[in-house]
Symmetry: C2
Subunit: 348 residues, 2 copies
DNA sequence: CTGAAAGCGCTTACAG
DNA sequence: CTGAAAGCGCTTACAG
């Protein structure tokens, strides 16, 4: 069905030289003169030659390809991270295979299998919410494929990690709420087995403890990352005799759900309920009231994750001890948590 | 640096059979008994064997991989389309390489080169805004790679196309505005060289003509797809002595810009300015007023695009004449264009 | 049902 | 600087 592909042998014949020579010319090997390089490349273009990366990879044993696995490509956080990764890969002449786990452990495992069989040189992963064990990541290492975890990571495996200082950001976000005068503050978090969510919870508790504010048992919620969960749980809490005065959500979507639940009850924001999220999703500055949040510098985070491979792992036989790299995040204060800003808005 | 990989020869030796047999067992060849298949597979798992897709692809001449090129993976429309494509590919045991052109013609060309050298069997593309010529798409065909265009397509190349009836949707959206009583209606569109934008403009003009409403020359704008462009142009138009009473934007982002510009001027929506966008982006139902829009059923669109390959192109020597497949879209009416809805909202 | 052998298109030591 | 040759790991006609 397919026509015969033009190979380096065809180029060699056409030019009256050997295939090895052609290969070297095409790959900019230093032994070849610039004149010959351009001659060969011109002929390649003329005959519509296309490099066959599968053959090269098979022979070379490396694919110059990086695989990335993220939970959702359409969440702005991950899309930005991918953009950063892509930028660095392109600059280093590597290509990129993007996989989506869709927050499913099963799909994540399949993605790992696929990337291994595609012989990628490195896998950058941000694990799914369902991921509790690292067996599949261990397998990556067994196949001598480099591994970098970013944002959401597992602790029980040796790998470089690029993430934010989640505990610190959560601490700061919580203190921001406290400084606004809120006292009964609830935390909408994620599963404890993923370090960033545990860290955000700890940061929240650190601040509350330091401020000597009570944290009722049911104000700390473990699975409130989605809009639906956020809305459901906020609805419950807002029915209490002593409902929360503010919510710090470890996810913008959880915060969005809380906002919708409070709107249904005509609860004024930020007057009666303060709210801050996490991730700086696109919608956070578009909704009303605009949602305070934590900007994780996701594009920079993606850049760094990719750079870990290019600067610390590529071509290195003995790897330095895996380290954790921290990307600075930034608290963004908008109307949803700031009485001061809100008043300005109203008066303008 | 890498340890030796386990190959089918290792499995063959371990099992006392031939490599050919192993290969067939692993690939579920009908000549092999179920018992032997599971025996071989068990051994493969035990020895941690992983299929090398590069070797297989090189030998087979096909990669069982589909490439997809979209302008932006983080626009909800494309993310949804990719989700649909992924679903169909997974069901057909094909893997997916996702490339992002970032609305740049140059990047799109590079993506095409990459996908060709990766030997993908098919490329699904939605072209960038800058794409005016189809030379690079022609090259795909020359390499005997199948081509399907979806959503944004070029007309001067023979390929299957999966898209919405953009002219009809635009016509309906415009009539919706007309029926709400708006008369001076502006159109925020995209470049004419991309068919869908031309179609949306035509649909708008069809409706205006039919309603015998005048369309001032400067009410039809060609490059107002982004939030920034939408805001800039809306600002200009709203300064006119006879400003538009409504805007139909061919992009939700353009509509968002218009909304922000009108808010700055304290123009009431939908009372003083009606607005409808296109694509049903995530933010459209979250902002206030909620933005009317056209839902393009993007996930279904992605599914169909992938299915064109699996049902009409895969393993077919003589291809049927390329056709255009239409995915039904749906007008979603929200507050931004509907006085009736708005009043209900206010009174509730 | 089973195996020996060829070959996909490249890269890279090795030799000159 | 240049080339002949081996081999990456698989699949698949071909033969039995």
């Amino acid at each position: 069905m397919k026509g015969k592909r033009v190979t380096i042998y065809d180029l060699a014949t056409a030019l009256g030289i050997s295939a090895s020579y052609v290969s070297r010319a095409l790959n900019d090997h230093p032994s070849i003169s610039d004149k010959m390089k351009s001659l060969v490349k011109a002929k390649a273009a003329e005959l519509n030659y296309k490099h066959n990366s599968h053959a090269a990879n098979l022979r070379r044993g490396s694919s110059r390809t990086i695989g990335v696995i993220v939970p959702k490509i359409n969440e702005n956080f991950f899309a930005q991270a991918i953009a950063g990764i892509e930028e660095v890969c392109a600059a280093n002449d590597h290509s990129l295979i993007i996989c989506q786990s869709d927050e499913s452990f099963k799909k994540e495992q399949i993605a790992v299998e696929t990337l291994i069989s595609k012989n990628v040189d490195c896998i950058l992963i941000s694990v799914s919410l369902e991921t509790k064990t690292s067996g599949h990541l261990q397998e990556i290492l067994q196949h001598h494929i480099r591994l970098v975890q970013f944002d959401r990571y597992l602790r029980d495996i040796e790998s470089f990690i690029v993430t934010n200082d989640n505990r610190r950001s959560a601490y700061d976000a919580t203190w921001h709420l406290i400084n606004q005068g809120y006292q009964r503050i609830a935390f909408f978090g994620g599963p404890d087995h993923i370090a960033i969510f545990k860290d955000r919870k700890e940061g929240f508790l650190d601040a509350m403890r330091e401020a000597r504010l009570p944290v009722p048992y049911d104000f700390v919620v473990e699975n409130a990352l989605s809009k639906e969960a956020g809305a459901r749980i906020a609805s419950q809490l807002l029915e209490l005799k002593e409902p929360p005065q503010a919510v710090f959500a470890a996810s913008d979507y959880g915060a969005l759900g809380a906002m919708q639940a409070s709107r249904l009850r005509n609860i004024k924001m930020p007057g009666e309920l303060g709210l801050i999220g996490f991730a700086n999703e696109e919608f956070t500055e578009l909704i009303q009231p605009a949602l305070s949040t934590v900007d994780q510098k996701s594009k920079e985070l993606g850049r760094c994750a990719a750079n870990v491979y290019f600067t610390k792992l590529l071509d290195k036989k003995i790897t330095e001890k895996p380290s954790v790299q921290i990307i600075d995040s930034e608290i963004i204060i908008r109307e949803s948590s700031s009485v001061a800003i809100q008043q300005n808005m109203t008066h303008s």
